[in-house]
Amino acid sequence: MLAVARRILHNEEDARDAVQDAFLSAFRALGSFRAGSRLSTWLHRITVNASLMRIRRAASRPEEPIEDFLPSFLDDGHRASPGDAWGERADRLLERKEACEGVRRAIDRLPESYRLVLLARDIEGLSGSEVAEALGISTNAVKIRLHRARQALRELLDARVREVEP
């Protein structure tokens, strides 16, 4: 649980507080735990929620722009710099242990509001409505942020994938 909170919050004290929040929430919500469910999955979702709620309660920060990370287009709607296929290089990227760390660092470079949505949806597996509720934003905003975060991460990973021998 602490590892999950750490990767969302990036601050040891906040992560520990979020885990404490999560245990309290879990204790209060014991009645909603269905026999037959995996306790670890249930606690995982509660921990992600508690971490997102902690961020939501913190002083709101101005939205950071993500446009610099997004693909660019010509006036006629075509891509400004189309690339060839990643192909099997993408499959081989994570064979190197340091590459995993590199991917995690690339995710950390995303503006915070986008990083959080990508982590919660694609890594932690929460639904769009769960993330929307935890962050206090609309499901449409979650969808837009997720799409932009994936596009930005794709641009950040592009050079790493191309370094892999074809």
Partner: protein
């Protein structure tokens, strides 16, 4: 929406296409564009691979939730739900 999507327009539909939520008419436009645009085919493939790579990069970390929950805790929690057990 015009019958012919540009590459810029196609990108806005990727997230719904990825989730299988694109309405049939838009899906037809989307797929028609892919049939004639290898750049967008490559982009869509790399977008899909990005999501997979991100998951796997964290998947190779210790599954801390599963590893950190001892069986005794599971038993204690389940017992706590049934008064008197």
């Amino acid at each position: 929406m015009s019958a012919r999507l540009t590459c810029r327009e196609l990108i806005d539909f990727i997230v719904d296409f990825f989730d299988g939520r694109l309405p049939p008419a838009q899906n037809a436009h989307f797929e028609s564009h892919l049939e004639v645009c290898p750049d967008c085919v490559n982009y869509l493939d790399s977008y899909t691979q990005t999501v997979r790579i991100a998951k796997e990069a964290f998947g190779q970390e210790e599954d801390a939730v599963t590893a950190g929950v001892p069986e005794e805790l599971v038993t204690a929690v389940l017992r706590a739900r049934v008064p008197g057990s």
